[in-house]
């Protein structure tokens, strides 16, 4: 039995619908009503979710858009706080950012590697030490000293994945970002993820691409209507998921 590195206990998350009170002017003119509507109209993103992830395990999260998958990643990353229940996470969380997020278009690839690496929680010296590995893995070659605004979306994806993948992640969060690279690079990412599995890196993988999910995940959590519909071994869940369609 492995150590649990992520534990969700009866976690619920709801957001007030803030757009109803945007603007200080509106807020002041409708003060009592504004406060009341803030309290009452809440959007429930997750309802009473409980699950655990063991160290070294790869958990896939599948489900429709808006089902609450990204909220789960936000809770693991620590950028969101649960409304109810407790979230326990042990270890450094490395989120793989969406295309181009955290990169500045006017800086070169090399400069962006440092910026992004420090942003996701590493020290400058740690990033500089891995600089050459990151550049080599990305295969961006001479473009690395060009501003990233001239990069194609595939190159941005390569850069983003290379940064996270070469900085010794402990818990890696991947939110549907691998679809952009070309076939060769996708294969390379997949190989690296399988290597992570062997090394005992914990991964949480949100995706709509079932072939990928099938290849790398040990277990799958199927989120439907803001709660867990099913959780279990990859094979079983995929069969049921396609069966339900």
């Amino acid at each position: 039995m492995n150590r649990k590195v992520v534990i969700f206990k009866n976690v619920s998350k709801s957001y007030p619908l803030y757009h109803q009170m945007m603007g200080i002017k509106n807020f002041l003119f409708n003060l009592p009503r504004g406060i009341r509507s803030m309290r009452n109209t809440r959007f429930e993103a997750l309802k009473e979710i409980s699950f655990e992830i063991e160290k070294g395990e790869t958990l896939g999260i599948i489900g429709r858009n808006g089902a609450g998958k990204s909220t789960i990643l936000g809770l693991i990353a620590g950028v969101l706080k649960p409304t109810q229940g407790t979230v326990f996470v042990e270890g450094r969380v490395s989120p793989l950012l969406e295309l181009g997020a955290g990169l500045h278009p006017d800086l070169t690839g090399r400069e962006n590697i440092l910026l992004n690496g420090v942003l996701i929680g590493f020290l400058k010296t740690e990033v500089l030490k891995k600089m050459d590995d990151i550049i080599a893995f990305s295969e961006i070659k001479e473009f690395i000293d060009q501003p990233v605004r001239v990069y194609s979306s595939g190159m941005l994806a390569r850069l983003g994945f290379s940064i996270v993948a070469n900085l010794d992640p402990e818990i890696l969060l991947i939110d549907e970002v691998l679809a952009v690279g070309d076939i060769d690079f996708q294969k390379k990412c997949l190989d690296r993820m399988l290597e992570f599995k062997r090394k005992g890196v914990t991964m949480v993988f949100v995706s709509h691409s079932m072939p990928y999910v099938e290849k790398i995940c040990d277990r799958i959590m199927w989120i439907d209507n803001h709660s867990i519909k099913m959780i279990g071994a990859t094979k079983d869940i995929i069969k049921l998921y396609f069966g339900s369609k």
């Binding site: 603007g23 200080i24 936000g74 969101l80 950012l97 996701i120 929680g121």
Partner: protein, 261 residues
């Protein structure tokens, strides 16, 4: 023991974040052009010209070396106003990373204010140039005087920017209000006029303005190398209060940033 090592690493990471973010801002601003620097000087100089025409030429204000007088107040003010006016967009413009990465968000505001401070420092040679034109020279007291006032202004500006940046996520129309606020505050601060010109009756009121004693101190320092202890102490007290206020507002709101963006 493990605890201290952890906080040490956290502090080091905070410093690294500030370094890379500031490098980024400066590189982007000064990339392949000198224009970025010129801009941070041209703006206050243009205002100095306008005020000179309006108040010296037209109104015939009784202030000696009025151009120098204006410049020594307008440059530090420019730093303050730029930072605070830019604050509403500070978190908003970084929504994509705030939603995904759990990094200390106040770094964004910190580096923003730091960057404007660096521009102000780079503009000080212009003040020296005008001193020389008026037949004066910088004083030795600048060495420590500038350092002290930099710290005070940094904490006032940072605290206020933190309040504006955080609350703007909840009330998105704060941007206009902020510009209105800084513009009005400018005219209530003795920059285009001297504090000695205020009628005795109203004089104490000027110190309700947290920026007043700071801007007076800058001008005294630049023009005569004078550091008035009372003015500086008052500015320092305001700096501490505003810094803590900013920190409290930020702390109580920051956990909701990711869900509101």
């Amino acid at each position: 023991m493990k605890m201290t090592k952890n906080t040490e690493k956290k502090l080091q990471h905070f410093i690294d974040l500030i370094i890379v973010f500031t490098q980024k801002d400066l590189k982007v601003r000064y990339k392949n052009s000198f224009l970025g620097y010129l801009w941070s000087i041209a703006h206050p100089l243009a205002f100095a010209l306008v005020f000179f025409i309006a108040f010296k030429v037209v109104v015939k204000i009784q202030v000696e070396n009025y151009t120098l007088f204006l410049i020594s107040g307008l440059f530090p003010w420019q730093w303050f106003a730029n930072s605070v006016n830019g604050a509403p967009m500070m978190f908003l413009n970084n929504a994509s990373i705030i939603k995904k990465v759990n990094f200390p968000r106040n770094v964004l505001v910190f580096t923003h204010v730091l960057q404007d401070m660096i521009h102000f420092l780079l503009a000080i040679p212009v003040v020296v140039l005008f001193l020389i034109i008026y037949g004066k020279t910088p004083s030795i007291s600048w060495c420590y005087g500038i350092t002290i006032l930099l710290f005070i202004q940094f904490f006032i500006t940072y605290g206020l920017s933190l309040i504006v940046a955080s609350t703007n996520l909840f009330f998105r129309d704060l941007e206009r209000l902020t510009i209105l606020f800084t513009t009005l505050l400018f005219y209530f601060t003795p920059i285009i006029y001297s504090e000695h010109m205020i009628p005795n009756h109203y004089k104490p009121l000027i110190y309700l303005n947290p920026l007043a004693s700071l801007m007076i101190s800058w001008r005294n320092l630049f023009m005569g190398g004078i550091l008035n202890v009372t003015e500086i102490c008052l500015a320092f007290i305001y700096a501490i209060i505003i810094f803590f206020l900013g920190h409290i507002v930020y702390k109580s709101l920051s956990w909701r940033f990711a869900e509101i963006l």
